[in-house]
Symmetry: D2
């Protein structure tokens, strides 16, 4: 079977270098180029800490896609350049797999149309950790049977926002299927403010911040005499990589844009 | 909406008395009779520890179903009488919801045919704990994405068999969808026999037995940089009751037999 | 070795009946009487749900202690009668083991003096679950090394106060040894109020309330690259019993009053 | 307060480079030299991935300790050179803090004597993760009250031995204080070999190996109606660093050798 030729944008970044290591582990993938602000003209293997690849660094997406035979672009950069990269890829009939988040609705709409017109598949996902996607989708299904649910998310203590985006997204998915109810005893009272956590549609979300933690979330459903818990632990940013590989394997068979890994996994 | 009239077989047993308490909590259910070896002719409320019901105890299923207007029979007895009760119910056009396990294949086939002929629904389930059913069904789905999985089941220390039936059933469901592989490092070795647990199709199952525990199971999927865990805690036999209520609400709309709560929940 | 003769006050209550079952399991204990508002003059075995004992029920502590040869009184009643019972026991040179909480400082002082004067030991403890005592005492020790700590306590959804008394008590013990610091990123912000839980001396306490849960607490210490967690699960009120037995075995060798099981365990 | 001058042996290794980053974070420490097989004569800051220090690399411990004013040597190398380094340090009145394991009894004895003679403190510890040390020491104490205990250790799936060294060490410590008993029901049976894990003195140890995991251990004590759990999660090798800092702060006040961080922490 022919290898899938891959270009990585943001290759010298933390997530980008993980993508290079992932490609190295898969015989069916072949790195044909990198796009980055740094290292223009250098071979990947010449850079300390990056795997042994001969592919070279470009600082311009169009020049790169003009010069190399790519099937897929993995984009792990920032919203600012991520959109430009995805658009350039589609215009080169190269399928973008984009882990960068923060696109505007207009940008997403433009990419969706372009993908359909050129019949070139694309995948954009805020979360490529397959365990996290399963947790969120199963939470949505479980909420039909268990209206009582609380979410505990735990992160390292440098995280600023609480609750985390994943926790709010999970609560939103639960809200779609859960019979709305305000949980806990009607007369319950906090002897210290905040003990019962954040109230989201009658559910509660608790945010733990401690050194040592990475990114962890538990969704706990309670029923008479039982608890059912969904838990995702992301120990390392490598947790995105199997989801990216999963998306690469499918995007080559798509001719439209898919937003959200869950649609590739659950549909 | 008219109440669902319910007869409970095995009402003075541990699980049966839980069913009576569950019925007491639901306005849409009405207890019209009990079948049991004990207390013939007594009202439920006359027996210490049972809820305040006027329904009376019979020691014969047919006499009971002849005399009371029942829609549903909840059977929480033993395989020996469970089959007889389910059959009698179907012959009275009463829908059996059976938590008793251990029927032979022939008995199940006979009940399935009878249910179809009389177009009277029936539900038989080895496990009515909805959280346990979700855990097992989600494990089957998750195994498509995570071939590396280990099961840890924990029970009170009076349990005889290891691994538990639920753990083996879960492993069998995972086996259906999981890419078979022998897990752990090829050169791993046990310095003390048994450390790596039971080998089931290359997966590992670990059985913990300790006083204080009730019935708990974790299914842990591992991928690069992440873990995804499904966990079910049964703290009390009351955990069966929401599943039994769920089955009652659906069996009144069925005209065939369903084996396994998952088919009511997931289909 | 001579058996320890025990009287149980509050014997027909939920906790009292557990104490009777505990006594039944221990060859070195002998039930010689019960004190309760109910069942005056009846034998324990004549009451449905209570174990097979010939000891009889009294409704007056002094009459009971006058008529039976008791070494130890287990009191599992209410603050109102608990104090009267403990005092009567000491005056009869019977050692009280009291699980009832809510005594005033004056009442405790009076019992302490009486115990010293008569050189008759006594044990009063708000929490007889040995696992809970270990969790709290170890948390106090661990806090010397890990100033970053968060507490997650989980209870059934009929509990009114949040955080739980045990969580606050644990935080107070940690406060004694922990280097005070405000945890989490200085610029962290709650996008939904309460997400970060209750702030106690810079630590955070989170209260989960769900059906199915009983009483559970985790104390999580975070340090660079590691977490250390202490967890106590009380699945059933039986969890008090090994602590009560532990106290009985020691109170017979004491000639003063000890407040708090930890002093018997850790000193 | 004067800074503590530190030399790091094995500085370019994974653990050694963590030690450099730890030193960078502490104002009261000052890096004065590094010993390694590589980078002789180079400044630490000249090596990609290492922090900004001017201290230089030596390939000989004696030359290094002759030329720099060191108070403490951190040795994170291998048993072969670790012993030579520790001895050289003591002979230079420099206090060794050694994370390297695998010394022979004779080597330990020689270092102990040398340390006493020269009245120069030293600390050797197989495990510098303070959370792991607390887990093991608290397990030893808890076993007095809970003879029923099972250990679940979870590691990445490249680990060869099962159970882990830490699990066996924990079981040995428990064995010292636990009333020996064979756990589980006397008639329990494995329907699949190994389900009940490794039998160590009647306790059970279970080893989970999954991708994504790092190094995690739970010690679960069971009693009637309750469980008490001690859990240590090492997410990253950085977990050794607070223990090494803890040892540095104390070794400067010692005039003898301490083997095992617990003796600095618990005594």
């Amino acid at each position: 079977m022919a290898k899938i030729n891959v270009v990585v944008a943001g290759a010298s970044g933390k997530m980008g270098s993980e993508a290079l290591r992932m490609i190295k582990k898969h015989q069916d993938l072949c790195l044909v180029g990198c796009v980055d602000l740094h290292h223009k003209g250098m071979k990947v293997k010449e850079i300390e800490g990056l795997p042994d690849f001969d592919a070279i660094f470009y600082d311009d997406i169009n020049q790169c896609l003009d010069e190399v035979e790519a099937d897929v672009l993995i984009d792990l950069t920032s919203p600012k350049v991520g959109f430009k990269h995805a658009k350039a890829a589609l215009l080169h009939d190269v399928r973008p797999v984009v882990g960068t988040t923060g696109f505007t609705a207009e940008e997403l709409e433009e990419l969706t149309q372009l993908s359909k017109e050129r019949e070139v598949g694309a995948v954009i996902a805020p979360n490529f950790a397959m365990g996290a996607v399963l947790m969120m989708q199963f939470a949505k299904q479980a909420a039909k049977y268990f209206p009582d649910v609380e979410i505990i998310e735990k992160h390292h203590d440098q995280k600023l926002d609480a609750p985390s985006g994943t926790a709010v997204k999970t609560a939103e998915l639960i809200q779609d299927t859960r019979k709305q109810k305000s949980q806990g005893h009607p007369d319950e009272h906090e002897t210290i403010d905040g003990a019962r956590g954040a109230d989201f549609d009658g559910m509660r979300i608790h945010s733990v911040r401690l050194p040592g933690l990475v990114a962890h979330q538990e969704v706990i459903f309670g029923g008479p005499g039982e608890n059912f818990t969904l838990k995702h632990d992301s120990f390392h940013r490598e947790s995105f990589m199997s989801g990216i590989k999963f998306a690469i394997d499918r995007v080559v068979k798509l001719d439209y844009l898919v937003y959200g890994l869950e649609h590739l996994m659950m549909d």
